[in-house]
Subunit: 228 residues, 2 copies
DNA sequence: CTGTTTTGTGAAGAAATCGTTACAGCGAGG
DNA sequence: CCTCGCTGTAACGATTTCTTCACAAAACAG
Protein backbone atom coordinates (compact mmCIF):
# COMPACT_ATOMS: atom_id res chain seq x y z
CA UNK A 1 0.00 0.00 0.00
CA UNK A 2 1.27 3.44 -0.90
CA UNK A 3 1.34 6.46 1.35
CA UNK A 4 0.49 9.99 0.35
CA UNK A 5 1.50 12.94 2.45
CA UNK A 6 -0.84 15.91 2.26
CA UNK A 7 0.64 19.24 3.24
CA UNK A 8 -2.20 21.72 3.30
CA UNK A 9 -3.29 24.30 5.83
CA UNK A 10 -6.97 24.41 5.01
CA UNK A 11 -8.24 21.66 7.18
CA UNK A 12 -11.40 21.03 5.20
CA UNK A 13 -9.56 20.55 2.00
CA UNK A 14 -6.95 18.35 3.58
CA UNK A 15 -9.61 16.09 5.00
CA UNK A 16 -11.41 15.85 1.74
CA UNK A 17 -8.26 14.93 -0.05
CA UNK A 18 -7.48 12.33 2.55
CA UNK A 19 -10.98 10.93 2.26
CA UNK A 20 -10.84 10.53 -1.48
CA UNK A 21 -7.36 9.15 -1.52
CA UNK A 22 -8.21 6.60 1.11
CA UNK A 23 -11.27 5.62 -0.83
CA UNK A 24 -8.89 4.84 -3.67
CA UNK A 25 -6.76 2.68 -1.47
CA UNK A 26 -3.92 4.93 -0.39
CA UNK A 27 -2.72 5.53 3.13
CA UNK A 28 -2.62 9.22 3.96
CA UNK A 29 -0.89 11.55 6.38
CA UNK A 30 -1.69 15.20 6.85
CA UNK A 31 0.59 18.05 7.84
CA UNK A 32 -0.80 21.54 8.24
CA UNK A 33 2.19 23.75 7.60
CA UNK A 34 5.48 23.79 5.81
CA UNK A 35 7.73 22.90 8.69
CA UNK A 36 5.60 20.01 9.83
CA UNK A 37 5.32 18.90 6.25
CA UNK A 38 9.03 18.76 5.87
CA UNK A 39 9.45 16.84 9.08
CA UNK A 40 6.72 14.43 8.17
CA UNK A 41 8.23 13.84 4.76
CA UNK A 42 11.57 13.04 6.33
CA UNK A 43 10.25 10.71 8.92
CA UNK A 44 7.63 8.73 7.06
CA UNK A 45 9.12 8.89 3.58
CA UNK A 46 5.83 8.83 1.70
CA UNK A 47 5.49 7.66 -1.90
CA UNK A 48 4.00 10.96 -2.97
CA UNK A 49 3.52 14.42 -1.55
CA UNK A 50 0.64 16.77 -2.27
CA UNK A 51 1.99 20.17 -1.44
CA UNK A 52 0.04 23.36 -1.16
CA UNK A 53 1.86 26.37 -2.49
CA UNK A 54 0.65 28.90 0.06
CA UNK A 55 1.57 27.58 3.43
CA UNK A 56 2.07 29.25 6.76
CA UNK A 57 5.57 29.00 8.06
CA UNK A 58 7.38 27.87 4.99
CA UNK A 59 6.27 28.29 1.44
CA UNK A 60 5.48 25.22 -0.58
CA UNK A 61 8.15 26.08 -3.07
CA UNK A 62 10.73 26.22 -0.30
CA UNK A 63 9.62 22.95 1.13
CA UNK A 64 9.91 21.40 -2.27
CA UNK A 65 13.38 22.76 -2.86
CA UNK A 66 14.55 21.46 0.48
CA UNK A 67 13.09 18.07 -0.21
CA UNK A 68 14.92 17.90 -3.50
CA UNK A 69 18.20 18.77 -1.83
CA UNK A 70 18.20 15.94 0.60
CA UNK A 71 19.28 12.55 -0.56
CA UNK A 72 16.60 10.73 1.33
CA UNK A 73 13.64 12.68 0.07
CA UNK A 74 14.97 13.64 -3.33
CA UNK A 75 13.14 10.97 -5.20
CA UNK A 76 9.73 11.47 -3.71
CA UNK A 77 7.46 12.93 -6.38
CA UNK A 78 5.65 16.12 -5.48
CA UNK A 79 2.40 17.44 -6.87
CA UNK A 80 1.89 21.12 -6.16
CA UNK A 81 -1.50 22.56 -5.39
CA UNK A 82 -1.70 26.14 -6.52
CA UNK A 83 -4.42 28.72 -6.59
CA UNK A 84 -4.93 30.37 -9.89
CA UNK A 85 -2.71 33.37 -10.32
CA UNK A 86 -0.16 32.18 -7.85
CA UNK A 87 3.22 32.00 -9.35
CA UNK A 88 2.60 28.95 -11.37
CA UNK A 89 5.43 29.92 -13.63
CA UNK A 90 7.98 29.06 -11.05
CA UNK A 91 6.45 25.74 -10.31
CA UNK A 92 6.07 24.90 -13.94
CA UNK A 93 9.40 26.33 -14.87
CA UNK A 94 10.63 23.91 -12.33
CA UNK A 95 13.02 25.87 -10.36
CA UNK A 96 11.32 23.85 -7.74
CA UNK A 97 11.39 20.36 -9.13
CA UNK A 98 7.79 19.35 -8.62
CA UNK A 99 6.57 16.50 -10.77
CA UNK A 100 3.28 18.05 -11.60
CA UNK A 101 0.92 20.68 -10.38
CA UNK A 102 -2.81 21.21 -10.17
CA UNK A 103 -4.59 24.52 -10.13
CA UNK A 104 -7.31 25.14 -7.55
CA UNK A 105 -10.13 24.73 -7.71
CA UNK A 106 -9.61 21.32 -9.17
CA UNK A 107 -11.89 18.37 -9.53
CA UNK A 108 -11.48 15.19 -7.56
CA UNK A 109 -11.34 13.29 -10.75
CA UNK A 110 -8.46 15.25 -12.07
CA UNK A 111 -6.39 15.09 -8.95
CA UNK A 112 -6.88 11.37 -8.54
CA UNK A 113 -5.90 10.80 -12.13
CA UNK A 114 -2.72 12.71 -11.64
CA UNK A 115 -1.87 11.00 -8.42
CA UNK A 116 -2.29 7.65 -10.07
CA UNK A 117 -0.27 8.66 -13.07
CA UNK A 118 2.61 9.99 -11.04
CA UNK A 119 2.72 7.00 -8.76
CA UNK A 120 2.57 4.54 -11.58
CA UNK A 121 5.41 6.29 -13.26
CA UNK A 122 7.64 6.81 -10.30
CA UNK A 123 7.65 3.08 -9.81
CA UNK A 124 9.92 2.72 -12.80
CA UNK A 125 11.73 5.86 -13.61
CA UNK A 126 14.17 7.67 -11.42
CA UNK A 127 13.11 11.25 -10.95
CA UNK A 128 15.55 13.37 -12.81
CA UNK A 129 17.84 16.02 -11.51
CA UNK A 130 17.91 19.65 -12.51
CA UNK A 131 19.42 18.91 -15.89
CA UNK A 132 17.69 16.69 -18.39
CA UNK A 133 19.40 15.40 -21.48
CA UNK A 134 17.95 13.83 -24.59
CA UNK A 135 20.38 13.11 -27.35
CA UNK A 136 22.00 16.37 -28.36
CA UNK A 137 19.50 18.34 -26.31
CA UNK A 138 20.14 19.35 -22.77
CA UNK A 139 17.92 21.50 -20.66
CA UNK A 140 18.79 22.99 -17.32
CA UNK A 141 15.60 23.63 -15.43
CA UNK A 142 17.18 25.71 -12.73
CA UNK A 143 18.90 28.13 -15.04
CA UNK A 144 16.33 28.10 -17.79
CA UNK A 145 19.03 27.21 -20.20
CA UNK A 146 18.91 24.98 -23.21
CA UNK A 147 21.86 23.76 -25.18
CA UNK A 148 22.01 21.68 -28.30
CA UNK A 149 25.32 20.02 -28.97
CA UNK A 150 26.78 22.34 -26.42
CA UNK A 151 25.50 25.50 -28.08
CA UNK A 152 23.18 27.59 -25.99
CA UNK A 153 19.89 28.52 -27.57
CA UNK A 154 17.56 31.25 -26.39
CA UNK A 155 13.98 30.31 -25.80
CA UNK A 156 11.12 32.48 -24.66
CA UNK A 157 9.20 31.62 -21.53
CA UNK A 158 6.40 29.83 -23.28
CA UNK A 159 8.72 27.95 -25.53
CA UNK A 160 10.78 26.84 -22.59
CA UNK A 161 7.81 25.62 -20.66
CA UNK A 162 6.54 23.72 -23.64
CA UNK A 163 9.88 22.14 -24.30
CA UNK A 164 10.31 21.29 -20.66
CA UNK A 165 6.92 19.67 -20.42
CA UNK A 166 7.62 17.53 -23.43
CA UNK A 167 11.04 16.52 -22.21
CA UNK A 168 9.81 15.81 -18.74
CA UNK A 169 7.32 13.38 -20.19
CA UNK A 170 9.78 11.83 -22.53
CA UNK A 171 8.25 9.48 -25.02
CA UNK A 172 4.72 9.93 -23.81
CA UNK A 173 2.26 11.58 -26.12
CA UNK A 174 0.85 14.86 -24.86
CA UNK A 175 -2.44 15.99 -26.29
CA UNK A 176 -2.98 19.60 -27.17
CA UNK A 177 -5.49 19.78 -24.37
CA UNK A 178 -3.00 18.63 -21.82
CA UNK A 179 -0.35 20.97 -23.12
CA UNK A 180 -2.70 23.93 -23.07
CA UNK A 181 -3.56 23.11 -19.53
CA UNK A 182 -0.09 22.38 -18.23
CA UNK A 183 1.92 24.89 -20.17
CA UNK A 184 -0.55 27.66 -20.74
CA UNK A 185 -2.71 27.17 -17.68
CA UNK A 186 -5.88 27.25 -19.70
CA UNK A 187 -8.58 25.30 -18.05
CA UNK A 188 -10.62 24.48 -21.02
CA UNK A 189 -10.21 25.41 -24.62
CA UNK A 190 -11.64 24.19 -27.80
CA UNK A 191 -9.68 23.99 -30.93
CA UNK A 192 -6.74 26.30 -31.11
CA UNK A 193 -3.69 26.16 -33.24
CA UNK A 194 -1.57 27.83 -30.63
CA UNK A 195 0.22 24.68 -29.64
CA UNK A 196 1.04 23.87 -33.23
CA UNK A 197 2.47 27.29 -33.82
CA UNK A 198 4.70 27.03 -30.83
CA UNK A 199 5.87 23.59 -31.75
CA UNK A 200 6.84 24.94 -35.11
CA UNK A 201 8.82 27.68 -33.42
CA UNK A 202 10.51 25.16 -31.17
CA UNK A 203 11.46 23.00 -34.08
CA UNK A 204 12.82 25.89 -36.02
CA UNK A 205 14.99 27.09 -33.19
CA UNK A 206 16.18 23.61 -32.44
CA UNK A 207 17.47 23.04 -35.93
CA UNK A 208 18.22 19.40 -36.56
CA UNK A 209 17.29 18.44 -33.04
CA UNK A 210 13.82 19.68 -33.89
CA UNK A 211 13.12 16.26 -35.26
CA UNK A 212 13.12 14.97 -31.73
CA UNK A 213 9.66 16.45 -31.38
CA UNK A 214 7.39 14.02 -33.09
CA UNK A 215 3.87 14.70 -34.23
CA UNK A 216 1.38 12.01 -33.37
CA UNK A 217 -1.41 12.74 -35.74
CA UNK A 218 -4.77 12.91 -34.13
CA UNK A 219 -3.35 12.87 -30.62
CA UNK A 220 -0.66 15.44 -30.01
CA UNK A 221 3.09 15.62 -29.73
CA UNK A 222 5.79 13.70 -28.00
CA UNK A 223 9.49 13.96 -27.43
CA UNK A 224 11.32 11.11 -29.02
CA UNK A 225 13.45 8.97 -26.81
CA UNK A 226 16.91 8.98 -28.29
CA UNK A 227 17.41 5.28 -28.05
CA UNK A 228 17.09 3.72 -31.42
CA UNK B 1 -27.97 3.06 -22.04
CA UNK B 2 -26.88 5.41 -19.30
CA UNK B 3 -29.09 7.78 -17.40
CA UNK B 4 -28.21 11.31 -16.38
CA UNK B 5 -30.18 13.13 -13.73
CA UNK B 6 -30.31 16.89 -14.15
CA UNK B 7 -31.08 18.89 -11.02
CA UNK B 8 -31.54 22.47 -12.09
CA UNK B 9 -34.19 25.03 -11.37
CA UNK B 10 -33.84 27.09 -14.51
CA UNK B 11 -36.16 25.25 -16.77
CA UNK B 12 -34.61 26.52 -19.98
CA UNK B 13 -31.18 25.36 -19.06
CA UNK B 14 -32.43 22.02 -17.86
CA UNK B 15 -34.19 21.41 -21.12
CA UNK B 16 -31.24 22.46 -23.13
CA UNK B 17 -29.00 20.08 -21.25
CA UNK B 18 -31.50 17.28 -21.58
CA UNK B 19 -31.78 17.87 -25.28
CA UNK B 20 -28.08 17.72 -25.89
CA UNK B 21 -27.51 14.76 -23.65
CA UNK B 22 -30.23 12.81 -25.36
CA UNK B 23 -28.78 13.66 -28.68
CA UNK B 24 -25.62 12.04 -27.43
CA UNK B 25 -27.46 8.91 -26.55
CA UNK B 26 -28.11 9.30 -22.84
CA UNK B 27 -31.42 8.96 -21.09
CA UNK B 28 -32.23 12.00 -18.97
CA UNK B 29 -34.38 12.91 -16.01
CA UNK B 30 -34.95 16.40 -14.70
CA UNK B 31 -35.63 17.57 -11.16
CA UNK B 32 -36.24 21.24 -10.46
CA UNK B 33 -35.21 21.59 -6.84
CA UNK B 34 -32.98 20.04 -4.25
CA UNK B 35 -35.55 17.90 -2.51
CA UNK B 36 -36.94 16.47 -5.69
CA UNK B 37 -33.45 15.95 -6.95
CA UNK B 38 -32.55 13.91 -3.93
CA UNK B 39 -35.67 11.82 -4.23
CA UNK B 40 -35.12 11.27 -7.91
CA UNK B 41 -31.55 10.23 -7.34
CA UNK B 42 -32.62 7.68 -4.77
CA UNK B 43 -35.38 6.21 -6.82
CA UNK B 44 -33.89 6.03 -10.27
CA UNK B 45 -30.23 5.67 -9.34
CA UNK B 46 -28.83 7.46 -12.35
CA UNK B 47 -25.33 6.89 -13.68
CA UNK B 48 -24.47 10.55 -13.28
CA UNK B 49 -25.95 13.64 -11.70
CA UNK B 50 -25.63 17.19 -12.95
CA UNK B 51 -26.27 19.30 -9.92
CA UNK B 52 -26.84 23.02 -9.83
CA UNK B 53 -25.27 24.73 -6.87
CA UNK B 54 -27.96 27.32 -6.26
CA UNK B 55 -31.19 25.45 -5.82
CA UNK B 56 -34.42 26.41 -4.15
CA UNK B 57 -35.21 24.29 -1.15
CA UNK B 58 -31.94 22.58 -0.59
CA UNK B 59 -28.55 23.78 -1.71
CA UNK B 60 -26.66 21.73 -4.21
CA UNK B 61 -23.85 21.22 -1.79
CA UNK B 62 -26.24 19.80 0.76
CA UNK B 63 -27.82 17.51 -1.75
CA UNK B 64 -24.41 16.26 -2.69
CA UNK B 65 -23.35 15.67 0.87
CA UNK B 66 -26.51 13.70 1.53
CA UNK B 67 -26.01 11.64 -1.56
CA UNK B 68 -22.52 10.79 -0.47
CA UNK B 69 -23.72 9.69 2.92
CA UNK B 70 -26.10 7.09 1.69
CA UNK B 71 -24.76 3.75 0.67
CA UNK B 72 -26.99 3.45 -2.36
CA UNK B 73 -26.15 6.76 -3.93
CA UNK B 74 -22.60 7.15 -2.69
CA UNK B 75 -20.96 6.02 -5.84
CA UNK B 76 -22.94 8.06 -8.29
CA UNK B 77 -20.64 10.66 -9.75
CA UNK B 78 -21.79 14.25 -9.48
CA UNK B 79 -20.87 17.17 -11.67
CA UNK B 80 -21.62 20.51 -10.05
CA UNK B 81 -22.86 23.45 -12.07
CA UNK B 82 -21.71 26.66 -10.45
CA UNK B 83 -22.11 30.27 -11.39
CA UNK B 84 -19.00 32.32 -11.62
CA UNK B 85 -18.12 33.92 -8.36
CA UNK B 86 -19.99 31.40 -6.32
CA UNK B 87 -17.63 30.07 -3.79
CA UNK B 88 -15.68 28.02 -6.19
CA UNK B 89 -12.60 29.06 -4.35
CA UNK B 90 -13.69 26.93 -1.50
CA UNK B 91 -13.30 24.15 -3.95
CA UNK B 92 -16.97 23.73 -4.03
CA UNK B 93 -16.97 20.34 -5.58
CA UNK B 94 -14.49 19.12 -3.12
CA UNK B 95 -15.92 19.75 0.23
CA UNK B 96 -18.90 17.84 -0.86
CA UNK B 97 -17.32 15.11 -2.83
CA UNK B 98 -18.39 16.01 -6.34
CA UNK B 99 -16.42 14.42 -9.11
CA UNK B 100 -16.11 17.50 -11.20
CA UNK B 101 -17.59 20.91 -11.66
CA UNK B 102 -18.32 23.29 -14.47
CA UNK B 103 -18.57 27.05 -14.21
CA UNK B 104 -21.51 28.83 -15.78
CA UNK B 105 -21.76 29.97 -18.38
CA UNK B 106 -20.27 26.91 -19.94
CA UNK B 107 -20.29 25.69 -23.48
CA UNK B 108 -22.42 22.69 -24.22
CA UNK B 109 -19.44 21.06 -25.77
CA UNK B 110 -17.41 21.42 -22.64
CA UNK B 111 -20.11 19.95 -20.48
CA UNK B 112 -20.65 17.03 -22.80
CA UNK B 113 -16.97 16.27 -22.82
CA UNK B 114 -16.86 16.24 -19.06
CA UNK B 115 -19.92 14.09 -18.82
CA UNK B 116 -18.36 11.61 -21.17
CA UNK B 117 -15.09 11.65 -19.31
CA UNK B 118 -16.71 11.01 -15.98
CA UNK B 119 -18.95 8.27 -17.27
CA UNK B 120 -16.24 6.57 -19.17
CA UNK B 121 -14.20 6.40 -16.06
CA UNK B 122 -16.90 5.16 -13.76
CA UNK B 123 -18.15 2.66 -16.29
CA UNK B 124 -14.67 1.47 -15.69
CA UNK B 125 -12.80 -0.37 -18.20
CA UNK B 126 -10.56 -2.08 -15.75
CA UNK B 127 -8.07 0.70 -15.19
CA UNK B 128 -5.29 -0.83 -17.15
CA UNK B 129 -1.74 0.28 -17.05
CA UNK B 130 -0.28 1.99 -20.03
CA UNK B 131 0.81 -1.16 -21.78
CA UNK B 132 -1.37 -4.06 -22.83
CA UNK B 133 -0.01 -7.24 -24.30
CA UNK B 134 -1.70 -10.04 -26.20
CA UNK B 135 0.54 -12.73 -27.57
CA UNK B 136 2.99 -11.09 -29.93
CA UNK B 137 1.06 -7.83 -29.82
CA UNK B 138 1.83 -5.08 -27.40
CA UNK B 139 0.24 -1.68 -27.32
CA UNK B 140 1.44 1.26 -25.29
CA UNK B 141 -1.25 3.89 -24.98
CA UNK B 142 0.93 6.53 -23.40
CA UNK B 143 3.53 6.42 -26.06
CA UNK B 144 1.05 5.62 -28.72
CA UNK B 145 3.14 2.75 -29.91
CA UNK B 146 2.30 -0.70 -31.13
CA UNK B 147 4.81 -3.46 -31.48
CA UNK B 148 4.44 -6.94 -32.86
CA UNK B 149 7.17 -9.32 -31.86
CA UNK B 150 9.15 -6.29 -30.86
CA UNK B 151 8.81 -4.52 -34.18
CA UNK B 152 7.13 -1.14 -34.08
CA UNK B 153 4.26 -0.64 -36.45
CA UNK B 154 2.69 2.68 -37.36
CA UNK B 155 -1.03 3.02 -37.00
CA UNK B 156 -3.24 5.95 -37.80
CA UNK B 157 -5.51 7.56 -35.24
CA UNK B 158 -8.60 5.56 -35.96
CA UNK B 159 -6.74 2.34 -36.43
CA UNK B 160 -5.06 2.80 -33.09
CA UNK B 161 -8.28 3.52 -31.27
CA UNK B 162 -9.98 0.57 -32.88
CA UNK B 163 -7.18 -1.77 -31.99
CA UNK B 164 -7.05 -0.42 -28.48
CA UNK B 165 -10.76 -0.94 -28.00
CA UNK B 166 -10.62 -4.49 -29.22
CA UNK B 167 -7.64 -5.32 -27.08
CA UNK B 168 -9.16 -3.69 -24.03
CA UNK B 169 -12.14 -5.98 -24.38
CA UNK B 170 -10.12 -9.05 -25.05
CA UNK B 171 -12.13 -12.03 -26.16
CA UNK B 172 -15.46 -10.25 -26.09
CA UNK B 173 -17.28 -9.68 -29.32
CA UNK B 174 -17.82 -6.05 -30.25
CA UNK B 175 -20.64 -5.27 -32.62
CA UNK B 176 -20.12 -2.73 -35.34
CA UNK B 177 -22.57 -0.48 -33.55
CA UNK B 178 -20.60 -0.57 -30.36
CA UNK B 179 -17.37 0.05 -32.19
CA UNK B 180 -18.81 2.97 -34.09
CA UNK B 181 -19.97 4.43 -30.85
CA UNK B 182 -16.84 3.87 -28.81
CA UNK B 183 -14.18 4.38 -31.41
CA UNK B 184 -15.83 6.80 -33.78
CA UNK B 185 -18.13 8.56 -31.35
CA UNK B 186 -21.07 8.13 -33.67
CA UNK B 187 -24.34 7.77 -31.88
CA UNK B 188 -26.88 6.52 -34.29
CA UNK B 189 -25.67 5.09 -37.51
CA UNK B 190 -27.16 2.77 -39.98
CA UNK B 191 -25.20 0.34 -41.98
CA UNK B 192 -21.73 1.44 -42.81
CA UNK B 193 -18.81 -0.57 -44.02
CA UNK B 194 -16.33 1.71 -42.36
CA UNK B 195 -15.58 -0.67 -39.55
CA UNK B 196 -14.93 -3.51 -41.94
CA UNK B 197 -12.55 -1.43 -43.97
CA UNK B 198 -10.58 -0.48 -40.94
CA UNK B 199 -10.43 -4.01 -39.66
CA UNK B 200 -9.04 -5.05 -42.97
CA UNK B 201 -6.36 -2.43 -42.74
CA UNK B 202 -5.54 -3.47 -39.20
CA UNK B 203 -5.15 -7.05 -40.25
CA UNK B 204 -2.98 -6.13 -43.16
CA UNK B 205 -0.66 -4.00 -41.10
CA UNK B 206 -0.48 -6.57 -38.37
CA UNK B 207 0.74 -9.29 -40.68
CA UNK B 208 0.48 -12.70 -39.08
CA UNK B 209 -0.81 -11.24 -35.87
CA UNK B 210 -3.77 -10.02 -37.88
CA UNK B 211 -5.31 -13.39 -37.30
CA UNK B 212 -5.80 -12.40 -33.71
CA UNK B 213 -8.76 -10.34 -34.87
CA UNK B 214 -11.60 -12.75 -35.40
CA UNK B 215 -14.75 -12.10 -37.37
CA UNK B 216 -17.87 -13.26 -35.63
CA UNK B 217 -20.29 -13.51 -38.44
CA UNK B 218 -23.51 -11.70 -37.83
CA UNK B 219 -22.23 -10.01 -34.68
CA UNK B 220 -18.97 -8.18 -35.09
CA UNK B 221 -15.32 -8.65 -34.26
CA UNK B 222 -13.28 -9.74 -31.32
CA UNK B 223 -9.69 -9.96 -30.30
CA UNK B 224 -8.59 -13.52 -29.72
CA UNK B 225 -7.07 -14.39 -26.41
CA UNK B 226 -3.68 -15.81 -27.16
CA UNK B 227 -4.16 -19.07 -25.34
CA UNK B 228 -5.26 -21.70 -27.73
C1' DC C 1 -25.80 -27.33 -55.21
C1' DT C 2 -27.91 -22.83 -55.50
C1' DG C 3 -29.47 -18.55 -53.99
C1' DT C 4 -28.92 -15.20 -50.34
C1' DT C 5 -26.63 -12.74 -46.91
C1' DT C 6 -22.56 -11.19 -44.89
C1' DT C 7 -17.77 -9.95 -45.07
C1' DG C 8 -13.17 -8.72 -47.49
C1' DT C 9 -10.88 -5.48 -50.33
C1' DG C 10 -9.18 -2.01 -53.55
C1' DA C 11 -9.70 2.49 -55.41
C1' DA C 12 -11.12 7.23 -55.42
C1' DG C 13 -13.27 11.21 -53.84
C1' DA C 14 -14.12 13.72 -49.38
C1' DA C 15 -12.64 15.34 -45.09
C1' DA C 16 -9.59 16.26 -41.42
C1' DT C 17 -5.16 17.42 -39.60
C1' DC C 18 -0.99 19.65 -39.59
C1' DG C 19 2.98 22.92 -40.89
C1' DT C 20 3.89 27.43 -41.99
C1' DT C 21 3.60 32.12 -42.72
C1' DA C 22 1.70 36.54 -41.89
C1' DC C 23 -0.17 39.74 -38.89
C1' DA C 24 -2.24 42.34 -35.08
C1' DG C 25 -2.53 43.03 -30.00
C1' DC C 26 -0.05 43.51 -25.83
C1' DG C 27 3.34 44.79 -22.60
C1' DA C 28 8.05 45.84 -21.21
C1' DG C 29 11.59 48.89 -21.56
C1' DG C 30 13.41 52.76 -23.14
C1' DC D 1 4.95 57.89 -26.46
C1' DC D 2 7.43 54.78 -29.25
C1' DT D 3 9.71 50.46 -30.40
C1' DC D 4 10.53 45.81 -30.17
C1' DG D 5 9.87 41.19 -29.01
C1' DC D 6 6.46 37.67 -27.72
C1' DT D 7 2.01 35.52 -28.47
C1' DG D 8 -2.23 33.94 -30.14
C1' DT D 9 -5.20 33.71 -34.24
C1' DA D 10 -6.31 33.27 -38.91
C1' DA D 11 -5.53 31.56 -43.45
C1' DC D 12 -3.81 28.59 -46.98
C1' DG D 13 -2.00 24.69 -48.90
C1' DA D 14 -0.08 20.05 -48.60
C1' DT D 15 -0.66 15.71 -46.87
C1' DT D 16 -2.53 12.13 -44.59
C1' DT D 17 -6.45 9.67 -43.34
C1' DC D 18 -11.35 8.39 -43.63
C1' DT D 19 -15.43 7.00 -45.84
C1' DT D 20 -18.00 5.37 -49.46
C1' DC D 21 -18.85 2.44 -53.25
C1' DA D 22 -18.62 -1.44 -56.17
C1' DC D 23 -17.62 -5.95 -56.66
C1' DA D 24 -15.37 -10.35 -55.26
C1' DA D 25 -15.20 -13.90 -51.89
C1' DA D 26 -16.92 -16.50 -48.26
C1' DA D 27 -20.41 -18.32 -45.15
C1' DC D 28 -24.79 -20.02 -44.61
C1' DA D 29 -29.55 -21.90 -45.25
C1' DG D 30 -32.46 -24.92 -47.56
Amino acid sequence: MQTVLIVEDEQDLAELLAFHLEKEGYRTEVACDGIKGLEAARSILPDLILLDLMLPGLLGTEVCKLLKKSEATQRIPVIMLTAKGEEIDKVVGFEVGAEDYVVKPFSTRELLLRVKAVLRRSAGEPSEGPVITVGPLSIDTERHQVTINGVEIGFTTTEFKLLHTLVKRLGRVQSRDVLLRDVWGYNFVEDTRTVDTHVTRLRTKMGEAGELIKTVRGFGYKMETDQR
